[in-house]
Symmetry: none
Subunit: 221 residues, 4 copies
DNA sequence: AATGAATGAGCGTTCATTCAT
DNA sequence: TATGAATGAACGCTCATTCAT
């Protein structure tokens, strides 16, 4: 029984987070991805970026894919933590909480890290199932958080209606990335778009009637 | 990082056979980009995809960058044509025209070509100035078209307010790409999102008061 | 009988000198060789240098080797003509004629054309028998011309002694090429070296005794 | 055209096996250059010549230019060592030492290595500044060594006169390369030319009067 | 006579990965 | 742990040459 309990990683390779070396590699890998793009995301450049030799990076991450996976795990983890904090705002009203989440999301979208990372991930997700799945899981939890606030604002909506509205709100905000994200052409318009978003997504969440979405779909059919 | 190429490359192909070849290369290049992603976008794979030799692809496009530029020129051209058609709907009311444009955009976003192409372009635009600029120009014209309909619906808005609303609407729709685009996780929710979009973007365009956006920004400051 | 008489070139290809196109190719080829070196001596660069297409250069010179051969033929021809003129100086004494030839050679060596051409040819001759042979023939005639003057200055020398002295004088002068030739490091010393050459090669030719060379060789053995 | 590289590349190879490999590459590179010429001096042929893979040669010499530079460094180093030895002949008279240097130079010129190497270098120096500079530095030290003996033979000469005579003697000897070098047409005449060189360059060094060179230049003006 | 098109080989270089040290 | 060495494949590109037009 006791023999079965082990801390050794199931997969080959030595990529325990917390190790100085592994952390340095991951940090370098992220900065290469953000600063130079997916095409420059090579073991060589990552090694150079953290002052190591190619062989050592390969020793810690025997497959490049592993590095990507661990890197994404770490990144999504940090996003999850941030997201979790946004829910824990007990002294705010439901409306204020939704406004806060919207503000937080758009603020984050404007950051270099999020702009660069997610545009790369959306592209990579087209042909990499692992990335696609991780991205999907992440956004599912984003939708869930938004959904909590939507449901609080408009309790009569069905769970599916809540999900649909959350998807709409989340997608609309993410759409800001290639337009108003870091160094994007309309970045200076972010205050206006953030203001409209806060106002109208709250208005949408509050004013949609149960069954209204289905009715709208039918009318358009 | 990439230098801006001001002189668009002349499209190669003088003889009939040559133009056919160039077309075949461009078609293959697009299909490689869409089906396999930017990482697979190599001269060798493109040549293989159209049954040619590497040297012949290089003959018609001596620089890989030229191929990318001609390909993007062709693609954006076809989008521009499509966009132009959407404006020429004289027998519709302003509201119906805006609904039509929204429907068309989201319908297009759901297509494989647009989903794949633009997710790749958003990522490439991060570190390729030529692509970034082409994408910017394209979306500028999209915003302009949407802006025409917004202005028609709400003539009292200032040009800047119209631009801001158009940007908001366009960005919100584009955000559907990584969520509801081709083979994306919530693709089946597209009818609902398209319905909400049509309804609420029209409502937004009609009901925003002149000066209201500025007021919203100030309140949030 | 009459059918056997033809102006068509024996070898394939159409590289009749005098033709405008062929002359332009040859001129461009020489300038590429001199200005950019043997590594840049490609059909493409030659074609570009004379504003033609690759296919046309290949049409006139189906094999690159042919171009080189014709080019060298022309070049050595022009050198032969120059050399011939140097002999036809009837109103000068033997000594003055030798001084004239030496001056002419060193003056020519200082020219861009000769400096560049012969340094390239010496290298190419290492592994190209055609070039090696052409170079040999050319220098043979140079030695012969010098030998005529040496023999006139010192009629008692045997033909072989004349040839040896001519070879020594010619080699010594050619050695100026990589040192004092066009844009070479000691080019500014050419007047001094030319003066010493004229003085001492004449002195050598005049003062060597028959049999002396053999004696010198034996002493050193 | 080629940029001057001021920092000489560190010679690669840390492990014993690595230094052996680097040596093998350099040896193969030299033999390719000598046996097949500059046009055949490719990474692929060098790799084949030492039984390695292209990637490994590129590993040890990431840039082809580095290989050339290290190769030349090694070669010139060996020539410098040889040259240095020729000066250290304390038991000989000045005249005998000059004769020795002349004999050594011409003997070396007749070797395959020197004949091939320097004819290639003279050509490459036309359009490669790095090579041109290395060749210049090498010959500067050659002239200096010759100059020491000339000055000892004729102490009244000015430093500039010594340099001029050394240049004349060195250039005259180097001129033997394309005529009497390895497998060159008049290689069999080398004993005679070496004998004349020894005799007459010594005579020249001894008998030139201070100021005589200037006088000769003026007379010719 | 001239040229666009096409080929097959080769170029220097970079890549992820393996392995002995 | 860490790294130098090595591999085999692929990269974009250039080459001389051929051929139909």
């Amino acid at each position: 029984m006791t023999e079965l309990v082990t801390d050794a990683p199931v997969r080959p390779g030595v990529y325990l987070r917390g190790t100085e070396t592994v952390d340095a590699i991951l940090k370098a890998a992220l900065s290469v991805l953000l600063d130079e793009g997916a095409a420059a995301f090579t073991i060589r450049r990552i090694a150079a970026a953290c002052g190591m030799k190619v062989g050592n990076v390969s020793y810690h991450f025997p497959r490049k894919e592993m590095l990507i996976q661990v890197l994404l795990d770490d990144l999504f983890n940090s996003y999850d933590v941030k997201l979790e904090l946004s829910v824990r705002q007990p002294n705010l009203s439901a409306e204020e909480r939704l406004r806060t989440v919207i503000a937080m999301c758009l603020d984050d979208i404007a950051s270099k890290r999020t702009t660069r990372l997610f545009t790369e991930l959306w592209a990579l997700a087209n042909h990499n199932d692992f990335i696609a799945e991780r991205v999907r899981i992440f956004y599912s939890s984003v939708h869930e958080v938004i959904g909590e606030h939507v449901a609080a604002l408009n309790p009569r909506l069905s769970p599916d209606e809540v999900r649909t509205l959350s998807l709409f709100i989340s997608a609309s905000m993410e759409g800001a990335t290639p337009f108003l994200g870091y160094q994007k052409p309309w970045a200076n318009k972010m205050p206006a778009i953030a203001a409209i978003s806060a106002e109208w997504f709250v208005k949408l969440a509050k004013s949609i009637e149960p069954g209204e979405i289905s009715r709208m779909i039918e009318q358009r059919g």
